[in-house]
Structure formats: C-alpha cells, structure tokens
Amino acid sequence: MFANYFLTAWRNLLKNRAFSAINIIGLAVGLASCILIMLYVKSESGYDQWIPDNERIVRLHTAYESPGRAPFLTVRSAGRMMPAVRDYLSAEIEDGMRLVVWDTTVQQNGEAFSEQVAFADSSFFNVLNLPFANGSAQSSFNKPNDLLISREMAQKYFGSTDAIGKTLTVCCLRGQTVELTVSGVLEDLPDNTHLALDMLVYMDTEVFGQFPGVLDTWTSVNVYTYFKLRPGVSLEQAQLRLTWWVDNESPFLEFAKQNSGMLPDGTKISDTMKHKLMRLPDLHLDAHNDAGNMGDLTPMGNRKLVATFSLVAVLILVIACINFMNLATARAGQRAKEVAMRKVLGASRAQVAVQFLLEAIGLVMISLLFALVAVELVLPWYNQLLGKVFEFRLFSEPSLLFTLLGLGLLVGLIAGSYPALVLSGYLPGQILKASKSNESSASVKLRHVLVVFQFAVSVTLLVCTAVVYLQTQHANNLDLGYSTERKLVVGIRAARDNLDSLKQQWQAIPGVQSVVYSSEAPTQDNENNNFVTLLGSNQGDKPVEELLNYHNMDYGFFQAYQVQPLAGRLFDKAYGSDTLTPAEQNQISQAAAILNEGAVRRLGFNSPQEAIGRTLQISASGDGLNHLTVVGVIPDIYFRSVKFAIRPSLYMLNPQRFNVATITYNQGQASQVTAEIERVWKQAVPMQPIDMQYLSDMLAAQYQSENVQMQLFSVFSLLAVLVACLGLYGLAAFTAERKTREIGIRKVMGASVKQIMLLLIWQFSRPIMLANLVAWPLSIWLMLNWLQVFVNRIDTWWLLPICLMATLVSVCIAWLTVGGNAAKVAKANPIKALRHE
C-alpha cells in the first residue's frame, strides 16, 4: 500500500512541477530560516548552564535610585557586601566570592600584551567550579597571588599547557609591577558563558583592602559578587532575606541617619539602594536590565530579542505551512477523483487521510534536504554577521539530526493535517457523478483567512523592519554635538609620568593638528558622580546640592572637538587659574569649571549666563574642598551612547585624572600619523602596547549589535515576505485556472482583457488590503512599545508613512505576483474556457 502511496505522491509531485516547486522552495526557506534562528536561540539560551550547580549560583546587582535623578544601575556591587551578606544569610548561602577585573599589561620575553586579569576571593571555586586542564582548586589556588591561566593563555605565553611554576610579569596593579607564578591551567571557557577569565589571580585581600573603593567600601561598586545558595533555597527566599537585611540590619541604616536627604519620608532603604540577586543561567539574557550603561564581563544578550527571533522563525514556518495547506486544498479537485476511487475500492477515511499526511511529510522532508544545503551555504556569512561560531555537524551530533527530523515531521503533520482532513472527507458518490470536487465555501473562506494572516504577518514584519532601520539610522546619524572627524584616541595611563613630553612629541608629528588629554573620550563612559554644592544659593535652609556626573578635560579639548560655549568661555591657559589642584585638609583650592546645559538646569539656573561666575563646592581633589568658578557653559553633548540620555555634567581640569589622548590629524594623513604616534609611544613606554583607536570606529562599535539585529531582522522579514508571495503566486495561478470558465463567460459578455485583468488583480488585492488593516494597528502598537526604550527615537508620526509604504509594497508585490497569471488567463480564447466542463 505504501508503495502505491509513494508512487502516487511522486507522480503528483512531477505532474504539478510548479506547485511542487513553490511548496518545496517555500518550506525549504522556512525550514532554513528556522534552523538558522534555532542555532542563534540555542546558543543564546544555553549560557552558563554547563557550570556545575549553575541553578544555585546567583550574582548580586546594584541599583541606586534617588528620587528626581536618573537611576544608576550596575551588575557590580560594593566590596563589603559579599562577606556581610554571606554571614547574615548563612542559612541560605553556602558560600560567596568577589571578582575584581582590571586591565593590565603582561610582559614576556621583551614583548608586552594587554590582558584582562580577574582577582578572586579564595572561595572562587566553591562557587564557580571551573574545570582544570592542569592542577586543581585545592593545590593551585590556595595562597595569595596564585595565578591560573587558561589553556589558550598557556599556549600563548609558554607554548604548552605545561606552565605550572613559570612566571609572568604583570604591570601596573595600582602602580606596582608584580611577578606572578602560574599555579594551574584552566580549561578554555566555551563561548556560551558570561565569564571572561583568561587569567585568574588569588586576591590578596589585605593588599586589595587598602585600595580605595575596591573591597573596603559600602557604596563604590567595583566588584562582581557571586553567591552559591544552599540546596533547596530559592532565589526568592534569598532575595527576601537580603532585602530585609538591607532595610533593617545593614550599615546603610547608619548612612541614612547621617544623610537625611538619602531617605525621603515613607521610603525604605531598599527603595533607593536596590540589591538584586540574579540566577547564573539568566545572566546572559537578563543582566542588561540591571547593567545600565556599564556593561558586563562579556557582551550581553537580550531575552526579548531571542523571543522575537524565535517568533519570526515560527512565523516564517507557519507562512510556509499555510502555502502548503492553501495550495493543497485549492488543488484538491484534481485529487478528488483519486480519493473517490480509493474509497469506492474500500479505503477508509483514515487510510486516505494517512496517505495525504505521508505525502505532506515526504514533501517536507525533501524541503528539509534543500534547507540543510542552504544552511551549510549561508552559515559562514551568518557566523560573520553575528560574530559567533555556530557549527552545524549533522552527523556527529545525533541529537541535532533527530531534532531536525522531528521538526520536519512536525511541520509535515501541521501542513498536511488540514488538506488530509478536507480530501479524506470527499464523498465518492457526489464526486464521481459531478466529476468535480465539492469543495465547501467554508474551505474557500478559510483559504482567504489564511492568506490574510500570511500577509498581515508579512506587512507587520515589513513595518517593523522599516522602523528598526530608521531608528538605527537615526541613532547613527544623530548630531552628537561635537566633531568626530579625523580623531584618534590613545590610552595614556601607562605614560602618566611623562604626559607633557609625550604631548610635545606627538604634536611635533607632521599632520597632527592637536593633542588633547581627558579623563574619557566620547563613548568611554564613566559613572563618576559627585555631590556639588552651589554656594550662595538657598533651598529651604540649605544651599542647593546636586549629584553631577563629571569629566576632566585638558586645555583645548573642547576646541579640538569643536564645541562652542553657550556662555562664558572654555578652559584657557592664559587665565592661569583653571587647573584643579589638590586641597590640603581643611583648606580650599580654587579652579574653574564648565557646565553643560543639563547641569545648568539641574542647579536651578534660568539661563547659561546666569551660571557664569557662580561658585560650586566639591570634594574632587585632595583631602580638603575645591571651589570651582563656573567660567563657561557648553551645549548638552552625547559623550556616551545616544541610547542613554545626556546627564547633567561638570567638566573640570584635573591633569591627575587624564586617561586618554585625542589626536586630531589632517585629512589624508591617517596612516603616516598613526605609524608615527605608535613609534613615539614605543620610545616613551616600551613595555606597554599602544591602545589606539579611531574615534569613528569607537562610535560605530556602540551600535554594532543594533546594526546586526537590524540586518538579521531585515533578512528574515524579507524571507517571510518572499515565502508568502510564493504562496500567493501559487494560489493566483490556481485561481486563474479555476476561474477559466468565469473569465470565458465574462469575455463572451464583452469584457476586455484589461477588465478581466483588473478583476483578477482586484480579487487578490482584497485579502491583501484586509491584511494591511490587521497589520497596521498591530505593527504600530508593537513599534510604539519598542521605541519606548530609546531616549532618542524617531518621531512616532513616521509610523504612518511607513505603514502606507508597507501597504503599497505589499499590494505591488501582490499585483506583480498575480498580474502575470491574470494576463495569461485574460488573453486566452474563451471557447476553450467554455468547453472546460
């Protein structure tokens, strides 16, 4: 019997080549998209699940949310939190540990390499039990300065994993160069982890305790804190106890008493100082909610994005399945006689249904083969686009093979179920008598509903793609408020002792326009915030005090970035009083300050001019106080990503805090200038590799993930539209064929070719119009929600022209798809049509 089924199916496949091709191409595109998205979703969802006891491991995140101020969010926490919380929650917490991650230079055989070194508490392996390639937690990580390196690092520095006992010189841990001895080699971490631990050092807590703002602090958030919960303890239980402790037993209570402004009436400490635990397996996809603009150890994922792409994958597949259903039921008449004869000869309805289901599954399996080939072909491009290394080893990974076969089976069952139900339900008597199918009007209506659904999804995807594209372009092209052209940014921390001579040498390079120092360059965000008191002001019984973000800029910095003052002046050496010098205890030092417009507003001034000449008191340098005279106001400039709002900012001139140089060069001289800059650097700081980037690259990198998302979204949306159009083409071809008689009659009645074509095109335009009516509100709602997360977003009125464009595009696509068939049928001789039956 199955041989007969197979033969019938195969002959039908060959007989209706065009329909078979439409189905196979549509399903193959759908399956290939689905497989590609599955690879992405699987990789994103599986982060850190390979770490033993991952479900019991949590990380502590911090959020400071003062009323009237933008919340400060970070996935880090204060150094003193870990031991305090571990002790207080000893019933819930098994152990805890902190990570301090610093950028360093590793020197080896006369060469220098920039490396990130993580310093961890001795309890590291009690929490994160990472596998060793050489050594063990007990023998290799038991005393301060024990150094563990990854297999990759061992190969890099020593040529083999046999690195135990060998030493590396690590430069500049708070000004000190230290020799560290390798005590163990860790296995390389897989790609799917939020951790970045190529070099792990047993932290000397006594030494680190002396560094300000690292371990011995309740408020500076500079460490990553992890806990392992006891078995059976839920995250919610631990979180409840932690919050209770913060509100009732923690040292924050004492701070609140000392600082009355910290806790407005009726609020708890945990309302403004939030300490949140997050499960290890959730970190990759959810940490971005808590990370603010400071980021995490590795680039973060986004659960909504994963869900969106999963939905797109399902939708493409559903669209392909609908194609199959529509074409199969539309063409059912051609198979009606066969069904009738099988039933006459004794086949049951179930047997007929099974036959059609098997046919559908067979077709899906053929499509799956094409899909696999397509995936293999596009995988290198896909990997490059996402910056991932997805591997598609079908035969060495039986689980993958079975998953795909399961997917094929499922799609076959879904796509084949409705046609099987319709076809197997035909009554042989009626069919053989009427010599035609008795397709019900309900079946025809359902087909229209499915077409409307397909196009509603396609139009929604088109609108979403267009909005995502416009928003990305908007962010890329937003006026940042300063010149970004012809600028190189060089890290100068390692050369802090001879900054003046370095600047002179760089400025002497032909082609260099200017060299200016600053604490940060644009895109290099900081969370340096300080309370500023506006002297001579009154707010109730106290002067105005506000928390402002601050940066330190060299003379000439704003000129180099072409930022003009709105009032007053920029820093100027000629005045001789702009530089901030450390104040002795109980002393006051004088200097100049520049504010941005946001700070002017925050401090309560009505205009930039009003702020000029006023004095701000701050504790920014030395043990005493600094009095800063406001000498200038500049516009609000996007120092950090446009994803975030511009903060009220204070600009000072403290050379002690300079970390980067911005070098502006002449047009067309980039390569000579970069070579010379590097040569000068090597002479000045021979054992430190230069950290030099084009500012344009740094700015582009900020939006890289959005650009990738946009590209992916566009590709998959267009694929969805393509698959839907394939279906429409097939349906149009069939409908034109089915309407041959009607068209013949109309022609006999005097209809012209043009009138017939318009009629057919209009018939197909109707469901597309209806689909647009469904898609408009849906996509507008979706996109209004999506745009909410952007501080700088396109005007929402853009949604209307975008919707109109999507309608136009969808209708044009439908016309083009249907037009060819319509013309062919309209031109045919009506006699043939009328003899049709």
């Binding site: 009645m749 005097g750 209809a751 009506p830 006699i831 039956e837």
Partner: protein, 226 residues
C-alpha cells in the same frame, strides 16, 4: 444580417491538421430562426463560434451587417459581439458565485449602462422569462430549466439582435426543453434572429430553416413552408 462565403476553419495540433469547416456558404436574414444539425464532430459548434465571433475563420469571408469581419482583431470582434449577439450554452455557463440578478446584469456591466438603467432592464427581463422570484438565488439553487431561463435572460438583456444557442436543451428534460424552446420562439416572433445548434429534430422543428452539416460541409438546407 450575416453571410458566410467559402468560409473554412482548420485546427493544427501536434502536426495533425483537422478541417472543421470546409468552404461553407450560408446567409441568414434578420429575424430568421435557423437550426444547425449534424452528427458529433461535424463542425456545428465551430460554425456557431465563428458566427458568434468567438473564433476566427482560417479563410473565406464573414459579412456581418455589411462588414467583412473575417480577420478582425479580438477587440474589434468583442465590440461588435457585445452589442449584437447573445449566447445560450448547453451547460448554461452561469457564474456560480453570482446570484441570478447579478448573472443577468453581467451582460450590461460591459456596456456602460448606468446602474439604475441596469436594474430596470434586469427586472424587466427577469419578469419576462419568469425568474423574478429567484432573483437572489445562486445558480446551484436552481433547476436546469431555471438556469437556462437565466441564461436566456442574460442573452437578451442587452437588446441583442441575434441569439446563438448551442444545444440549449441538451442538459434539460423534455418539459424544461419545451419551455426553453417556447421562450426562443417567442423571442424570434418579437424580431430576434436565432441560430441554434441542436441534435433534437423536434426542437429543430421550431426553426424555419434547418442547415445540415457533415464533415464540415453544408449538405442540405431544409426550409419549412410558411
């Protein structure tokens, strides 16, 4: 009204040439009722299609109201056809998705007749063929005889001067067949020229002249005595 002179039609398919009509000469005057008879495959329907301008002759002349329309383009033929010729088919050829009223109105849709005028004429012709009570029904809800009455109404609603009927009673029982023939006779008496292909001698008897075809030739022409 029309005159065919040495009119031939051959078809070419898969290198086989079939001669459907061979040098046919026929003349039909205004107000005539002509029946065309002959065995299957003798060329009756081909002849009717050429007369109805649904097909073009391969050679010869076709004079219609003083114009030689042989060799006219599709659009030119369509223009003449829609103003002068109505069709009735054996299988009715009604559009399944349209109601009785809409099927009849179809013939006026392509004539630039205003909607109010269309409604009036459709109502009038429905009354005339006795189908007004079924105006909103779909063809599938009607009997064969009723469907053919709708087809007749559609053929005359545009005020066509000639009706071409291709075996109009072929799918009907005798009672319904008689009914349709009576209707055609009535139309002829009102001045409509009728050309009808039929297998039924009884129905051919309604015509005043019967043309017998065989292998694409006109073999005899019988004229009933007045």
């Amino acid at each position: 009204m029309l005159k065919l002179t040495n009119l031939s039609r051959h078809y070419l398919s898969d290198d086989v040439e079939t001669l459907a009509l061979n040098k046919v000469n026929i003349e039909i005057a205004v107000g005539e009722f002509v029946a065309i008879m002959g065995p299957s495959g003798c060329g009756k329907s081909t002849l009717l299609n050429i007369i109805g301008m649904l097909d073009n002759p391969s050679s010869g002349e076709y004079w219609f109201n003083g114009e030689n329309v042989a060799g006219y383009k599709e659009a030119q033929l369509a223009a003449i056809r829609k103003h002068h010729i109505g069709f009735i088919f054996q299988n009715f050829n009604l559009i399944d998705e349209l109601s009785v009223r809409d099927n009849i109105e179809l013939a006026l849709l392509y004539h630039d007749v205003p909607a109010s005028e269309r409604r009036r004429r459709v109502a009038e012709v429905m009354d005339k063929v006795g189908i007004a009570h079924r105006a909103n029904h779909l063809p599938s809800q009607l009997s064969g005889g009723q469907q053919q009455r709708v087809a007749v109404a559609r053929a005359v609603v545009g005020g066509q001067s000639m009706i071409l009927a291709d075996e109009p009673t072929g799918n009907l029982d005798s009672a319904h067949g008689q009914e349709v023939m009576a209707m055609l006779q009535g139309l002829n008496e009102e001045g409509t020229t009728i050309v009808m292909v039929t297998h039924s001698p009884a129905h051919a008897d309604y015509a005043r002249r019967t043309i017998n075809l065989f292998d694409g030739h006109v073999v005899t022409e019988d004229v009933k005595a007045a």
